[in-house]
Symmetry: C2
Subunit: 332 residues, 2 copies
């Protein structure tokens, strides 16, 4: 049977309040007694019961993480960051996978609330009134990762998607491309998808290139989406010379389709990715892609959350991290 505070108190010949004081360093205790208590703790291997502690403090030291899919590099890397930083602050993360299902999300929100999490990190595709209402009611801190800001009630951290697409598109144009296609994240509710589109359009405009709506496809992060989009374009007899995508997976899907149709990459068509995941260097040709500080985004998100939980004021409620670009073999 595990030893508890009472046992320690008895063996050390002090009251339990004293023991509590020494383990929490909450009030002055004489050095002599402190040592006696520490010795007993050492000897018995006593560890305070976090459940009892939670009950009285009304704090669970739990953080809820809601993600649409765990099985990919991007989410995994984020989780690495959440987990690692949270531990540092003595918080535990509990994981909820929604498979992108809206109802599931709502269910998990309630579940997490009942589990007394002290805050949440949200990685879902959309953010709508139901979410908003929920957080309004339960008054829990939330931070959204790679979702656009809706208001100051929720915090966000991401890169500037519009700028990233703008820069990558401009770079392709500078390198001589005139026929460009965009495959973006096309959830209509996804504000970043819109941002991405705007970035693309702006790059074209600034270089005096025409914007053709039919050369914009809406993907959902997956390789297949891009494959199909490119296939459709090809079938319609159209052929861009550069394809800008917003996911490494989609870039690979696009390239696969091109190659399957006998079109060489980057010989005839250049393709760019997004995020710079492991896939970008594993795949051949290696991907030219937007470098996304995934781990850092995760680290900042969880730090913001914990800061807020601890009652500190957050000055910068919507953080935007800088991104980079790597030019590898998939573009010319």
């Amino acid at each position: 049977m595990a030893v508890n505070i009472k046992d320690v108190a008895r063996k050390a010949n002090v009251s339990i309040s004293t023991v509590s004081r020494v383990i929490n360093d909450s009030k002055p205790v004489s050095d002599e007694i402190k040592k006696r208590v520490f010795d007993i703790i050492e000897e018995t291997g006593y560890v305070p019961n976090p459940v009892a502690r939670s009950l009285v403090m009304k704090k669970s030291r739990l953080i809820g993480i809601i993600v649409p899919d765990i099985a990919n590099y991007y989410t995994g890397e984020l989780l690495n960051a959440f987990e690692e930083i949270a531990k540092t602050y003595d918080y535990e993360v509990i994981l909820c996978n929604t498979y992108g299902d809206f109802q599931q999300e709502l269910r998990y929100l309630k579940l997490l609330e009942s589990k007394q999490v002290e805050g949440m990190i949200f990685l879902s595709f959309k953010w709508d009134e139901a979410h908003q209402a929920f957080f309004e009611r339960c008054n829990l801190p939330v931070v959204l990762v790679n979702r656009a800001a809706v208001n100051d009630r929720v915090f966000t951290v991401s890169i500037d998607h519009g700028k990233a697409v703008y820069e990558m598109t401009s770079e392709m144009i500078k390198r001589g491309h005139r026929e460009l296609m965009l495959i973006r994240n096309g959830e209509t509710e996804d504000v970043f998808g819109t941002e991405q589109l705007e970035g693309f359009r702006r790059a074209l405009e600034e270089h005096g290139l025409p914007f053709r709506p039919e050369w914009v496809a809406n993907g959902h992060y997956q390789a297949n989406d891009a494959y199909d989009a490119v296939a459709a374009l090809l079938k319609a007899g159209q052929r861009p010379t550069a394809i800008v995508t917003t996911t490494d997976d989609m870039a690979v899907g696009a390239i696969n389709c091109l190659v399957d149709n006998g079109i060489s990459v980057p010989g005839e068509v250049s393709v760019t990715g997004f995020y710079d995941t492991t896939l970008a260097t594993l795949y051949r040709p290696k991907l030219t892609t937007v470098q996304h500080p995934i781990y850092d985004i995760g680290a900042i998100a969880i730090r913001m959350l914990i800061k807020k939980i601890d009652g500190q004021e957050i000055e910068e409620k919507h953080v935007r991290l800088p991104h980079g670009m790597v030019f590898r073999e998939s573009s010319r």
Copy 2:
């Protein structure tokens, strides 16, 4: 302020024990009172406090998961399964990422114990005395995923790695290959690495082919390991016609090295993977690989654990799931 059992009791004009009885359905309560209580619960939105419940029941309904790295498809898919099934049984999983570090593992073991987890799932590379001693002492159920059985104190679930390698190797031999290389998981403590080697050796023997130790490389799951191993062999002027690997990533690494050296795959050399991750179909040439029921392994592991936690007897302590083989473009 959240409503508690007392509030419900008062509003329903019953004692708190009665409320407890109706929410847990633990003892008979008259239909009339039951209805009254349910109405109040509905009205107030009361949710029992799981922390208080844990304290008295001495159960946390928490399961600890220890993994060496979250950011890959394999772990992610496993986590999907853990998370999903655990929720079904009203358990929460808490995640610990060790980056493969042994000391970190030990630290997490203690942490999880102090958090009162009721069981653990372990995905670490090795299993040694320190682990064994820990579980011996704290008497917590554990299940090891894709690690070999050490004894009956810990449960395991995996596929038969020896058989998988044996079959894939045999198949390559049947297809005419006589010069085969193996890149396996080479942690010396990794019993499956040994099993894999044995399977390879047995396939060669049964077909009267010589076993050359220098054509066996030890990787650590990563593409780079395989890349380097193949590069070394090539440098030594050796060239197999088929390379069997035990990871899709390693297969890709091997192919990349071959191609970088002007050797065509599968034209001149065939390469096979393991696990059938998303990479296997994203990459070109698409990978011939061993199909590994990742999600199922995770599902069985977490079910075994929960069963054990609930005090049920586990008849089959070391489960081996069947695997498959897919032949795609990376082999001839």
